[in-house]
């Protein structure tokens, strides 16, 4: 066999590696949600126990807001919770909550009482009505809704200081400038 033929695997691996390296920075799921750039679907959720106002799509307009899907049963939500408190305390952006699939009516309010409530308004969503409207695949998940009430971005998993400053904050600023 030709000596050069023995270099073929190495060359092919090199090409593959370039593609992989380029692919790493991308999120194959980023376009997964068909709701991106669509109006928030109509939904209306009742308040959680002990609160007077729930959450509906009409609450999300005139300013850029986040809609965060959480639940007291979700450990990853517990991880991102302090960061959401931070957003509230520093008045960075209003966060609306969808309290998803609580085992009973009291679990959500108890959790918020214990750790603090970072949400402007919360809708109680025991049977996934709101979650289905947003196409939620798991908790926590956070949606960016712009001034015109369009869903512009979907973040899966907990918000951390790292992905906030790298990805989410620039998106927020861009949406505000529009």
């Amino acid at each position: 066999m030709n000596r050069l033929a023995y270099y073929i695997p190495l060359v092919l691996l090199g090409i593959l590696a370039v593609y992989f390296a380029a692919g790493l920075g991308r999120d194959p799921k980023s376009l997964e949600s068909v709701l991106i750039d669509q109006k928030v679907p109509e939904f209306s959720l009742p308040p959680i126990a002990g609160s007077s106002k729930g959450l509906s799509n009409t609450d999300l307009k005139n300013q850029v807001v986040l809609v965060n899907v959480f639940g007291s049963w979700c450990v990853a939500c517990r991880v991102e919770h302090p960061f959401l408190m931070d957003l509230k305390e520093k008045n960075i952006v209003p966060v609306y909550g969808i309290d998803w699939r609580e085992p009973d009516r009291k679990a959500g309010p108890r959790w918020l009482k214990k750790y603090g409530d970072p949400y402007t308004l919360i809708g109680d969503d025991p049977i996934s009505k709101g979650a289905i409207a947003f196409g939620v695949t798991g908790a926590p998940e956070t949606f960016f809704v712009d001034k015109n009430g369009l869903i512009r971005y979907k973040h899966m998993g907990p918000i951390t200081a790292q992905n906030w400053s790298r990805t989410l904050k620039p998106i927020l600023e861009r949406l505000r400038k529009e």
Binding site: P9, A17, F20, A21, R26, V75
Partner: protein, 661 residues
């Protein structure tokens, strides 16, 4: 405390691995005996340390220590004990630790049982193995540490993904990893041989049992995963060409080729470059699979929480490991001249074609899997590649391969005689043609392709039996003599007969279940009847019940056919309380001709009935049985004395008519 000991053991194992990967290699190069002597004990210590780390993590899971972040995210007190244990590897961090554990176990096996290896080869194999371990352990400690604490500790955990709470899936990852990671040993052998610039029969003889063992586990692992998808996902399908399925299938194809190529290298001192190349890509594809699943570059239903930092690390690991091996291959490969020359029509020729077709098949699966990534990177949009691509590319390549599989065992080494081989196969050919035509005429005149698939299965099965009959001289000597010959067949030949025969049975199952599946989806009220493939399904009731950590809905179907066939099928739907996630448990009743398969879905609010999916999946049991026979074949072959680890390395003369095994 125990968790910290485990963490410490893991850190220590990294240093041991780094030492073992470097000093003995230098020693082997300089012929320094004392440096070389480090390798074997280091491999054993490395293994013991990782066992300790793994045991500590298992302890944290079993005792539900939620101050460990990994336990809190993946376990729950309400979980049955089996799933507390399988939760250890049901997540990214823990599964990487299992990966490292198995890697070290294979290294320790070489250290303990490799006494008859050439010392320099043994040391180099252990060195290469340990270099891989160094990379993997560093990856775990730097990006995926399972021992990190969580403060404050939550009251309870997040639970294991309910889809994974299944006995089939509890054992799927360990089996699959035993296969994947088992290929690291053949990789280490290949790289060691390239460093030494020497590939001989002894080398190939040593590689073969490891390949067989890895292949055996990999096959079993893939089948178990496929079986799980079949009954747990409730779609009536068993293979979806999902990137993660492909990630396990590509190494399998390469390992299958390697298995056969190594025979030629051992017995005929030929196809050496091929054997080395296949050993490298088999493990390379295993690593690639790990990269694809963990880095998030490809969307898959199985994806672990993906993280670009991890992706960069695994990519580097992949490039250094496989790139290094390929560079060595480019440098040293051309010197690996074999002494055995052969004609195109010969057993070597058949096996070479097998190598080629399997490699191209693996490449086509790789292309299909990565195509969405290529398109995405080139900014041409987002696409997904589905089953139609794989079926139209993969299946045609398997057709010539199955045909050659029938003939090649009849060809002699070096120079085969095609006409005498085909003369022996006239009965098999006749059975194939009759079987194919009957299938076409009696079952399905619409799909000639399905009839062709069945004909291929008959061909392979008949040819495999003919080969066995020839070996025991059936009808040529008295029957009693044939029988005693049958029992004296070497186990390695039995391995070939079983593996090829099992594949034939599986092909029949695959063809039939793809071509003639009957599917019926409808809303049923209590008492409603639906006819599926001659069976009448009556929905009797749907009841709610409480499982250990889930709420279940159980549908009861009475299935009848004629007067004397009656059975009850009880599919379930479960909602696991902790993660609020629904799963499906299909009810399956296997019969000789196919599976009766029932799934109960959600309640239809309008009519008050339930959505039900009923299937008849023809010959699916054949597929599982065929695959199990293949695994059995590999196990039988592995138990052959000539393969046994530690068997004396006496060179054995092989007669011209020896089986290909």
């Amino acid at each position: 405390m125990i968790v910290e000991i485990g963490h410490f053991a893991l850190i220590l194992s990294l240093f041991v691995a780094a030492l073992q990967g470097t000093l003995p290699m230098v020693g082997a190069h300089r012929q320094n005996q004392s440096l070389m002597a480090i390798a074997a004990p280091a491999a054993l210590i490395q293994f013991a340390l990782i066992v300790g780390a793994f045991a500590a993590l298992t302890y944290a899971f079993v005792t539900s220590d939620f101050s460990v972040m990994n336990v809190a995210s993946n376990s729950h007190t309400a979980k049955p004990m089996l799933y507390k244990i399988s939760g250890v590897w049901g997540n990214h961090e823990g599964s990487m630790l299992l990966w490292a554990l198995i890697l070290a176990a294979y290294g320790a096996a070489i250290a303990a049982f490799g006494n008859n290896l050439r010392p320099s080869l043994k040391v180099r194999v252990l060195g290469v193995q340990s270099l891989i371990a160094t990379g993997v352990l560093a990856f775990i400690l730097l990006t995926s540490n399972p021992f990190l604490r969580l403060d404050p500790a939550p009251v309870n955990g997040n639970g294991l993904n309910p889809l994974l709470q299944d006995p089939g899936l509890a054992f799927h990852p360990p089996l699959l990893y035993l296969g994947y990671v088992g290929l690291s040993i053949t990789f280490s052998f290949a790289v060691a041989a390239l460093i030494e610039g020497r590939v001989d029969a002894a080398w190939a003889r040593w590689v073969r049992p490891w390949t067989l063992a890895a292949w055996c586990f990999l096959t079993a692992g893939i089948v178990l995963g496929s079986w799980w998808a079949y009954y747990e996902l409730g779609w009536g399908g068993w293979w979806f060409w999902d990137p993660v399925e492909n990630a396990s299938f590509m190494p399998w194809l390469a390992a299958t080729a390697l298995l056969h190529s190594a025979i030629v290298s051992e017995k005929r001192d030929s196809l050496k470059s091929w054997t080395i190349f296949l050993a490298i890509i088999a493990f390379g594809l295993s690593l690639l699979g790990t990269f694809l699943v963990r880095s998030g570059v490809i969307t898959s239903v199985h994806a672990f929480a993906s993280d670009p930092t991890r992706g960069v690390f695994i990519l580097l690991l992949l490039v250094i490991t496989i790139g290094g091996a390929f560079a060595l291959f480019a440098w040293r490969g051309p010197q690996l001249k074999g002494s055995g020359l052969f004609q195109p029509v010969s057993r070597e020729g058949g096996l070479l074609l097998n190598n080629f077709l399997l490699t191209v098949a693996a490449a086509s699966v790789l292309l299909g899997t990565l195509y969405p990534l290529f398109i995405d990177v080139l900014e041409l949009g987002k696409v997904s590649v589905g089953a139609p691509y794989f079926e139209s590319v993969f299946v045609p390549m398997m057709i010539p391969m199955i045909m050659v599989m029938g003939i090649a065992p009849f060809l002699k080494w070096k120079r085969g005689d095609f006409s005498s081989a085909s003369a022996k196969l006239k009965f098999a050919a006749l059975a194939t043609i009759i079987g194919g035509l009957l299938t076409w005429a009696l079952i399905d005149r619409a799909s000639a392709f399905a009839a062709f698939g069945i004909a291929l299965a008959i061909w392979l099965f008949a040819a495999t039996l003919t080969e066995l009959a020839g070996r025991i001289k059936l009808f040529q000597v008295p029957l009693a003599d044939s029988l005693s010959r049958l029992f004296r067949q070497p186990r390695a030949s039995w391995g070939m007969t079983l593996a090829h025969g099992g594949l034939a049975i599986a092909i029949a199952g695959i063809t039939a279940s793809s071509a003639w599946k009957v599917e019926s989806i409808q809303v049923m009220k209590f008492g409603d009847q639906v006819n599926v493939a001659g069976y009448t399904y009556t929905l009797k009731s749907v009841n709610e019940f409480q499982g250990p950590n889930y709420k279940g809905t159980r549908g009861t179907f009475i299935v009848t056919k004629g007067d004397d066939f009656k059975l009850t099928l009880e599919p379930e739907k479960r909602v696991y309380t902790v993660r609020a996630m629904p799963t499906t448990e299909a009810a399956i009743h296997p019969t000789f001709l196919g599976d009766l398969y029932a799934v109960v879905g959600d309640k239809d609010e309008k009519s008050g009935g339930y959505i039900t999916r009923l299937y008849f999946n023809p010959l699916v049991p054949w597929m599982w049985v065929g695959a199990m026979i293949m695994v059995l074949g590999a196990a039988v072959s592995l138990s052959d004395r000539r393969h046994r680890v530690g068997a004396p390395m006496k060179s054995k003369l092989v007669s011209g008519g020896a089986p290909a095994e």
